[in-house]
């Protein structure tokens, strides 16, 4: 378990209300490292009165910013915060070009065990998420409005139902919002799985021959946005071009996950320190973007501003904002092997290259970790990675394809030792990342 990291308790944490009236989260939220459970620290959850006092009423899509909301989203370059960073306005235009109508989904099925930012938003700013969802539905002319979240996300679900009850009482004419439970699997948040489930099938990914924005739930245009993306739509509808882009990070530091909102003036190093990194030594590397993300050398990463375009220019991505520093004593290859096994086990088991390829990759990594693999196994690993790349119906296997080569590069000195039969001292005892064990 994560207790092996020996962090000091987090008494230094204090919730801090953001002075900015247009902040997304307005404070820190701290969760235990594992599970989707209750937060241990956080700002006061915002009820409808607090929300309206802070931000005022939701401008209707045809109100203050009018039909121009999609143009505003384009102008402020809002991108998808489920990890893809795909321009939100492009999805909206694609759906409008297909005639609109149909379904709009808030995707709250936060599959990455290390992530907690979507839970933090739903539990602390549910009305901002719902505002964005309703503005998107209104702009698309959608008649079906859905929140999709894991069956086991109890704290988020009760916050959501409380917020919906408040809205029904205050705004009886608002569209009904369906809250639909997703199986407690990593893959349930994949957008084609959502479309398939809402169309009456199993919540498993499919190969999509046309984009959901054109042909989604029941064959009708469908917009699926991550809840953070929608919360930002809720803000942009109010601020217009004054929107201040920030990033929601979930930093995993030992036995807790800290969700914090930072601007581009903050470096990754500062964010990790602020999130309570209490080990005596600096991390050696950091995993950016979660289990399907990529490792980066700590020295290079720590100096980067928390700003997706800058991180992209440095050859990486923040993905859904997940930041996992590697303790100095840990073996990055062993952590990578454990994560790869987790990704293999999380496969929907529908596509051959994912079903067979990910376990094969994990098997070779295990050999490297225990020091029993040589150059020929490394060649085999590289071949498997190349063969799996881009070959699932969804992007699940592509996550492993990003993760593994980044590990071979960032931990190349350790790799050479492992291949000589001299594994790291800590290779047999991974730190126990959430969900990975």
């Amino acid at each position: 378990m994560t207790g092996r990291l020996h962090l000091v308790p987090q008494e230094a944490f204090a919730p801090r209300q953001d002075a900015s009236p247009v902040g997304l989260l307005g404070g820190w939220v701290v969760y235990p490292a594992a599970g989707s459970g209750q937060r241990t620290v956080g700002p006061a959850p915002e009820d409808l009165d607090d929300h309206l006092a802070r931000l005022g009423p939701r401008p209707t899509a045809r109100g203050h910013h009018g039909d121009a909301l999609v143009e505003t989203l384009a102008a402020v370059e809002l991108t998808g915060r489920g990890g893809s960073h795909f321009p939100a306005a492009a999805k909206w235009r694609s759906m409008l070009a297909a005639g609109g109508g149909g379904t709009v989904v808030a995707n709250a099925a936060e599959g990455e065990p290390a992530s907690a930012k979507d839970a933090a938003l739903l539990q602390h700013r549910p009305h901002l998420v719902l505002d964005g969802l309703l503005s998107a539905a209104e702009a698309m002319g959608a008649d079906d409005v859905v929140v999709w979240l894991h069956d086991g996300a109890h704290a988020s679900r009760s916050a959501l139902h409380r917020a919906l009850a408040e809205r029904r009482a205050a705004f009886p004419t608002e569209p009904q919002i369906r809250v639909i439970g997703a199986p407690d699997r990593y893959i349930s948040g994949e957008s084609s799985a959502i479309v398939r489930a809402l169309s009456g099938g199993p919540a498993l990914p499919t190969l999509r021959r046309r984009p959901a924005a054109q042909e989604g739930v029941g064959g009708r245009p469908t917009l699926v946005h991550n809840v953070e993306t929608l919360a930002r739509v809720g803000l942009v509808a109010r601020t217009g071009l004054e929107y201040r882009p920030t990033t929601l990070l979930t930093v995993l530091a030992g036995d807790h996950r800290t969700v914090l909102e930072v601007g581009p003036e903050v470096t990754l190093g500062q964010a990790v320190a602020a999130a309570g990194w209490r080990q005596p030594d600096q991390p050696t590397a950091v995993l950016l973007g979660g289990y399907g993300g990529a490792w980066m050398d700590w020295a290079a990463a720590a100096a980067l501003p928390v700003d997706e375009p800058t991180v992209r220019a440095a050859g990486s991505s923040l993905g859904a904002g997940i930041v996992i520093p590697l303790p100095a004593a840990a073996c990055g290859l062993a952590e990578t092997a454990a994560i790869t096994r987790y990704l293999a086990d999380s496969s929907a088991r529908q596509c051959g290259p994912c079903l067979f390829g990910l376990p094969a990759i994990a098997d070779v990594l295990d050999l490297i970790v225990d020091g029993s693999a040589g150059r020929s196994e490394l060649k085999l690993l590289e071949r498997y990675v190349a063969e799996v790349s881009g070959r699932g119906a969804c992007h699940h296997p592509d996550g492993a394809v990003r993760l593994v080569p980044s590990a071979l590069d960032v931990f190349r000195i350790e790799l050479a030792e492992h291949l000589r039969g001299r594994p790291c001292a800590s290779a047999a005892t991974p730190v126990g990342l959430p969900g990975v064990g």
């Binding site: 998808g80 893809s84 795909f86 492009a90 999805k91 694609s94 957008s191 990914p205 499919t206 190969l207 999509r208 021959r209 984009p211 959901a212 924005a213 054109q214 529908q350 596509c351 051959g352 290259p353 994912c354 067979f356 390829g357 094969a360 071949r383 498997y384 063969e387 799996v388 070959r391 699932g392 119906a393």
Partner: protein, 80 residues
């Protein structure tokens, strides 16, 4: 050499959910389809040349799982 995109151009695609790795496609279209370490087909990303059209169509028709299809080379549309 870059090909000009037109409505005529198509590429071969696999629906990996339907595909069971039977491998008939690799026999019917040996110049287009190779198989990976687990026997599943890898198809070219590029549009198919005129001279390869016939074997592509053979592979599509011959797939017992109906997992292969020809797709017009897509315009720049969001897929997610």
């Amino acid at each position: 050499m870059r090909r000009r995109r037109s409505a005529e151009l198509a590429r071969l695609r696999v629906d990996p959910v339907l595909c069971d790795g039977i491998g008939i496609c690799a026999h019917l279209a040996p110049e287009l389809v190779r198989v990976d370490s687990w026997g599943y087909p890898i198809v070219p990303l590029e549009a198919i040349d005129e001279r390869d059209q016939k074997q592509a169509q053979r592979a599509v028709r011959g797939c017992p799982r109906k997992a292969l299809f020809l797709e017009p080379v897509p315009a720049e549309l969001p897929t997610r």
